[in-house]
């Protein structure tokens, strides 16, 4: 059976959820071979094996943390040469897309980014994408070389599928370009204790109607009552009320949770692009004409400062 390379996104050996989703998709096409790089690479093996990786190729070197993107491209290219896979799958993070693109160019392959689904096809893997602010769905495939495809978080379920997951050291020779862009400093993000925005099952977002950084506390309280991630519209981020890392929309994160709760968000195209594939959408907004109400399964026309705290209290009561 053909092998499928899966690029592992991990933090010091802790595998992030989108990689496990990739393993689910990879198994539809062939046998997943994972590639884990940098500090803690070998520690990923047990988790990857549980989810279907037949092999885990690892390489640790300081270059992966000290220089931007290119060392990882060099390694993935080495893995591609070693394995001759049927496809290469990479998580659709900003960095993942850059790695995938440079790899594709080097190996003479086409690239598809931001797939939301993947299935085997007669002419290679068929990727589903959601385009034009999610108003269209397309089916695409790579027509030249080894398909290189990046996949968005939440595109597949994480499934247990025990496999060998045998660890093999990958031999990597860094290119001259590898040390071109130096990472001279790194400030890790402080953990909020809430789920990762793109990976969360429930997202609670606030917009212009929240009207101030201090008022985001009521959005956070609702999120915490549901174990949800917190999002913000571009208007709220541009106003400085909430960090850009939490922005949902075209220039922020695109999310597709089971439940999306929009509070004080009008629903401009910029925002819709990042959330309209959510399974269930609810909104609270003062303006009955707000375009967000065209998307909702349930909407409340009212003042979010009345509705949201009452909702939070009621959820707490119901949860006991």
């Amino acid at each position: 059976m053909a092998e499928v390379l899966v690029y592992v996104d991990h933090v010091d050996g802790a595998v992030r959820k989108p990689t496990l989703e990739l393993l689910t998709l990879a198994r539809r096409i062939g046998e997943p071979v994972a590639v884990a790089l940098g500090n803690g690479a070998a520690d990923t093996a047990a988790t990857l094996a549980e989810h279907g990786a037949v092999k885990v190729l690892t390489h640790e070197a300081a270059e992966y943390a000290d220089y931007l993107v290119v060392p990882k491209v060099d390694a993935l290219q080495a893995a591609h040469e070693a394995v001759s896979p049927a496809a290469v799958l990479v998580p659709s993070s900003a960095e993942g897309k850059e790695i995938a693109a440079r790899l594709a160019l080097r190996i003479g392959s086409g690239i598809i980014t931001d797939a939301v689904d993947l299935e085997a096809g007669d002419e290679g893997p068929v990727a589903t994408q959601s385009v034009f602010a999610a108003s269209y769905t397309t089916k695409s495939r790579v027509s030249k070389g080894t398909p290189v495809i990046t996949v968005k978080p939440n595109s597949a379920a994480v499934e247990a599928a025990p496999a060998a997951g045998s660890v093999e050291a990958l031999s990597v020779t860094f290119s001259a370009a590898a040390t071109g862009t130096k990472v001279t400093g790194r400030t890790p993000r402080q953990s909020t204790g809430r789920p990762e925005l793109t990976e969360a099952a429930i997202v609670v977002s606030g917009g212009r109607g929240v009207n101030g950084a201090e008022n985001f506390a009521i959005i956070e309280a609702l999120a915490d009552s549901l174990g949800a991630a917190v999002g913000a519209s571009r208007a709220a981020v541009d106003a400085g009320w909430y960090p850009h890392t939490n922005q949902v929309g075209q220039t922020g994160k695109s999310v597709s949770p089971q439940l999306y709760i929009a509070s004080g968000i009008s629903g401009a195209i910029q925002h819709r692009a990042g959330m309209q594939t959510s399974k269930t959408i609810v909104a609270v907004n003062k303006d009955a004409e707000a375009p967000i109400f065209d998307l909702v399964d349930y909407g409340v026309v009212g003042d979010l400062f009345d509705v949201v705290p009452q909702l939070t209290e009621e959820i707490k009561t119901r949860k006991g």
Partner: protein, 262 residues
Amino acid sequence: MSLRIVVTVKYVPDATGDRHFADDLTVDRDDVDGLLSELDEYAVEQALQISENSDDDVEITVLTVGPEDAKDALRKALSMGADKAIHVEDDDLHGTDAIGTSLVLAKAVEKAGYDLVISGMASTDGTMGVVPALLAERLGVPQVTLLSEVSVEDGTVKGRRDGDAASEQLEASLPAVVSVTDQSGEARYPSFKGIMAAKKKPVQSWDLSDLDIDEDEVGLDNAWTAVDAAAERPARTAGTIVKDEGEGGKQLAAFLAERKFV
């Protein structure tokens, strides 16, 4: 010292318009008004700021690959303050994918001469966000991408890249390819004077033969990816909308409970 900056820009269909696909499954450009991709305005802005903060003699060239109308995007960038423009236009370019676009841009940037290329973080139509990385790969120069802060001094470009897990400080020697995010700083509006001045600024037109690119390296038929189908997403079925009469929060909680979220 002089510093030659090339800003790559894209002419895109207005995201607030009713975007759709043409019969050949390329982006339909006829039925929706086009404009300079909003995210590229940030690239033009950062080029202008680098110029304003520099003691060097800085020349800013805006470069686009696109149909005749794409000149509008160049004019906008020129009216913001760029010095000159290059328009790569050729009928054989229709349907070119990101890999092919990066080839055309790389050849054009090399022909124009550059110390620094600045791009936006992604286009607002294709939204892949991979062209700056591809361009760096093709040119064989450092990639310093997705910056929310950028500065150039003594032949070195520095910037801050805000990632999901960490915020990173980056540094590379020129020549280099930079991309900037929408967090890099509000783009200026063209002044009346700027708009008038832009009309007199030079816009060069190049076709594929000017760039030594064969027609079989670009275009829809030579793309390394193929779109087989495109379907409009069905409209969401109309939901329940209630007016808060004092119980809105409780009603919403009941709905969430019914859907098993609580």
